[in-house]
Symmetry: C2
Subunit: 171 residues, 2 copies
């Protein structure tokens, strides 16, 4: 097998979103066991001007689905940012995974040199080739928000380890 | 250009380590401006049982150089984990970047199906094909430690934004 734009994108996004879903599941169980409101975790942030857990999960999903949509030309579903519970956040991940699964391999393979224009701040866009966009923007962005979600949970005492982040607790 | 094991690894590791170096540079300037001991940041952690900034930077380097070493068969330099200052941590990044630059492209391209055996906890190893190892272990591991380093700095009030993480402040 040769590495391709598809194999370097869809399975990676799916793997990491699945691991994030697993971490949220453990976080929900932790809140229940300790008898505190899950929303305390969902609204937690690492700094006053950083985004809360809720938003980290929403953006991890969006970085994945919008990244794939731009590379493939397949329109991504739009999700309102209305999730307030762990169940709803996991449902958003599931909807994102379903979209990732629906994008045909041949719409992504070969898009290395395709011009991808994407938002880079308010009223600003940038254009990169497909390969640079995937490797330097879409993947790093997804990893950023998955890791920050993990860090918020760890900071708040949820028992997670590297195996949860890397492999959804399966290693 | 077609995506390859080289183009999906060396430039990505280099880009993110360069961005991490930039974040450390801003952190050092922040400590100096605010007149506090830089070691306060260097020893900071997000949870008592998480690793401090120092260690996040060391492992971000190791995930990159050891990942590349396993894929290419080129031996990586060993670094003692003795860094205690921002200057020394940035020097470790520079040494890692020099190693990444030294690995010939043809030692990495085509290693998709090569068996890669790597440590997975104490006294345990796992074996994956090159492609799965790069996409599901080496890259996620590097991104984890770069993002956690960023999160530790943000949590402690260093003025950083997504542009510092994604592009070393160049966007």
């Amino acid at each position: 097998m040769t590495l391709s734009m598809y194999s370097a994108s869809v399975p990676v996004f799916k793997n990491m979103l699945g691991n994030l879903r697993h971490c949220l599941d453990k976080a929900a169980a932790h809140a229940q066991a300790r008898k505190f409101e899950p929303s305390v975790l969902i609204e937690s942030r690492l700094a006053p001007d950083m985004l809360p857990l809720r938003k980290q999960v929403q953006i991890a999903c969006d970085a994945s689905k919008n990244g794939l949509a731009r590379l493939s030309g397949v329109e991504a579903p739009k999700f309102d940012d209305t999730e307030t519970t762990f169940e709803q956040l996991m449902e958003r991940i599931d909807k994102t995974l379903a979209f990732l699964d629906s994008v045909p391999r041949d719409k992504i393979d070969g898009c290395e040199d395709k011009d991808i224009t994407f938002p880079a701040g308010r009223d600003v866009t940038r254009t990169l080739k497909g390969e640079a966009y995937l490797l330097n923007v879409a993947l790093p962005n997804m990893f950023f928000h998955v890791t920050t979600a993990y860090a918020i949970l760890r900071h708040n005492g949820v028992e997670l380890g590297k195996g949860d982040y890397l492999a959804g607790g399966k290693v």
